[in-house]
Subunit: 422 residues, 2 copies
């Protein structure tokens, strides 16, 4: 039984016909390794921007259904061109859009979730020795409506197809060399990780590392599909393998350090210490689609019988949050201010290995103390410890933690892009 | 029961977002007339050229299947954008590609024929009051392969959809104002015809008038769908209605005059006068996909018992024809030369009214004689008389015939483009 490898190439990797020729070579190399190959591609480079611009020319608020019809054409172009490029090099290839395969999704436009992938057409074509090229990012509903999957869509398509085909592995080709112990723009000698668990990858992604959308990692975890993040341009580099923690060979307390500079802290002061108050606040925010991250409720003050509820949100939701809380204030009988602070950052250490190792948290707190960095809030999960600090301290915190937990490489990472703002 | 009007807009009419807004207005105007409206559109302006160029970058001979996948994305873009533009003006619209509707074709890539069109989705959406926007030029096979219809494809899609829906009429919007009595670049006071029969339109098209591809006219004739050719830019002008001869109100011997400058004449000299020789020649040419137009076989010469076979072909097929005949010469025992003349033109008069009117042919021959134009070959059908003349005489012949048969307008037609070469 031949192994199936699913490969995914993003828009940058197929931005022009020369790049498509290179992708064809990478695909064929995997085929020459004796594997069956299924390739998932996004729309070419700036196609989506161009299509969105035309839509906005025609309508200030184009319908989701027609946006999906419009955007799904982008992958139609790239799959056909890639199949041609593979054929031109003497290999049999066939392209399919989501409708042809039956990548069934919910009937929700612009951000549908995949429900089921039909595999009969895929298996039949693999059996015939063909390389299959599939349109990422798109799906179809039971009654033939075209949908798209929203952010991280093509990665998710690739992982879901790998799961449906019980593939050996899903390789996500990208413009970085893999997953790093921290942002190499902040710490130039950050190490590339050879392996990382799904859980660690999820915590790192949520903590501000942007290599993969959490959604695709969650899908991989759920279906136990090994994922490899690797460079489109440096083929020899095997990148980072993301897999179940039970299959990992590496044993280290901390896998990575991340900073999220886009959070804001809200404190609702002097709310009555009685049941249901927190529920009212957070369900009102949820109704407005505002994601809340760290939450701390102070001990109740004895005299006033009130307490403070503090939490963090994405800065982009700040206005909406304040508006929601203002409306709510009377209802929850809150007497104090609503305090806002967007000069904060969340610094996190992530590692599956910390579960059995006491002392990781105290090492973190000590390190920050030595750096004279004040901790404003703390939250922990099984494999992550996050500290809220002043935004201006964030990079210094990351550097110190990265060093303390022994994550440095002897090499300087080759990365582009500016340092994130503090 | 509301009437259904099918409208078709070509690539020039939807070349940019401003033009798409104009098309939306035209569509809405028809809806405001109280009709149900189904719109068929082609890919935007130069999209197809751009896609073909990328394909050629990747492969000297891209597979038909992948070309169809690639090109079919073009209409996906234009249908979504047109639906958005209609919605932005406050009308309910929904776009569908061929796969969603079920425009079923043969399993032949790049030039499939439509076999059947499913109408349930169309009827359901019309019933819901929606304007339906459909991708022209494309189809789908029984097993979900995407096909395209080749030349004249979008016109044919529109006519076939009109037939399937039993539509009142199919309006083909184009950059000319209608069908003219002759090429207005040759005869500036050519008249726009208000009505013309399918048969006349077909003969005119085959005789070199390029308003509609014969394929779409044939489909309209077969299904008795009234077709209107009209201008995208001059909405008040009703253009030309193409319909069954039995429904026509107008009574005139000649509807139009056309010249085909792209023919070449071949004479195979001294072939034996025995049964089966002509069959051998023309079946050999048919096997090579060479269309033969006029055919004349001379009377057999008494002494040698041979005759000459003359016929015309498209100049583009000249080399292929000569090669085929050279191979055949020995087999048919032909002793003479193969003469070639590509300095000829076919001038035709077309009119359903000539059936009951003797003297039309003699008027034509007399007119050409008065002009001192030599007739090299003659062929006739029920509603057409064609004369082969020297290419340099073609425009003069058209002008004289146009005048003799009373086809002149008092107005000078507003047309663009160069005069066809003689």
């Amino acid at each position: 039984m031949r192994k199936i490898i699913v490969q995914k190439f993003g828009g940058t990797s197929v931005a022009d016909t020369n790049k498509i020729k290179n992708v064809a070579k990478t695909v064929i190399r995997e085929k020459q390794n004796g594997n069956d190959v299924v390739v998932v591609v996004s729309a070419m480079g700036h196609t989506t921007d161009y299509l969105v611009k035309m839509a906005k020319d025609l309508s200030p608020d184009p319908s989701g259904r027609e946006m999906d019809m419009l955007l799904s054409t982008g992958e139609g172009v790239s799959i056909a061109l890639l199949a041609m490029a593979i054929q031109a090099q003497g290999y049999d290839a066939v392209s399919f859009n989501a409708m042809q395969i039956g990548i069934l999704t919910e009937n929700i436009h612009t951000k549908a979730r995949i429900l089921k992938i039909k595999t009969d057409k895929l298996k039949e074509n693999l059996k015939a020795g063909k390389i299959i090229v599939i349109a990422g990012f798109q799906g179809v509903t039971d009654d033939g409506e075209i949908t798209t999957l929203g952010r991280g869509g093509s990665d998710t398509s690739a992982v879901a197809i790998a799961a449906a085909l019980n593939a050996e592995r899903c390789d996500i080709y990208t413009d970085v060399e893999g997953v790093y112990t921290t942002d190499p723009r902040v710490v130039p000698n950050a190490s590339k990780l050879d392996e990382i668990s799904y859980e660690e990858m999820l915590e790192l992604a949520h903590a501000g590392a942007n290599v993969l959308h959490p959604r695709s990692v969650e899908t991989a975890k759920l279906n136990n599909v090994p994922l490899r993040v690797r460079s489109s341009f440096k083929q020899d580099n095997l990148g980072t393998l993301i897999l179940g923690v039970d299959k990992m060979e590496i044993n280290r307390p901390v896998a990575g350090v991340a900073a999220d500079l886009s959070q804001a802290r809200i404190v609702v002061c002097d709310v009555p210490d009685k049941p249901g108050v927190a529920a009212k606040i957070f369900s009102a925010l949820a109704k407005e689609n505002i994601s809340v991250d760290m939450i701390i409720q102070s001990y109740a003050r004895k005299v006033s019988n009130t307490n403070d509820i503090a939490f963090t949100i994405d800065s982009a939701d700040l206005d909406k949050t304040v508006k929601t809380l203002d409306t709510l204030k009377h209802d929850i009988d809150a007497h104090g201010d609503i305090q806002i602070d967007d000069k904060i950052a969340k610094v996190s250490i992530v590692g599956a290995g910390m579960i059995d190792r006491p002392g990781v948290a105290s090492s973190m707190f000590e390190t920050l103390a030595q750096q004279n960095i004040n901790i404003r809030m703390i939250s922990t999960s099984e494999i992550k410890i996050s500290c809220l600090v002043d935004k201006s301290d964030a990079h210094r915190a990351v550097k110190a933690l990265h060093k303390v937990f022994g994550l440095e490489s002897t090499e300087i990472a080759d990365v582009k892009g500016d340092l994130p703002d503090v």
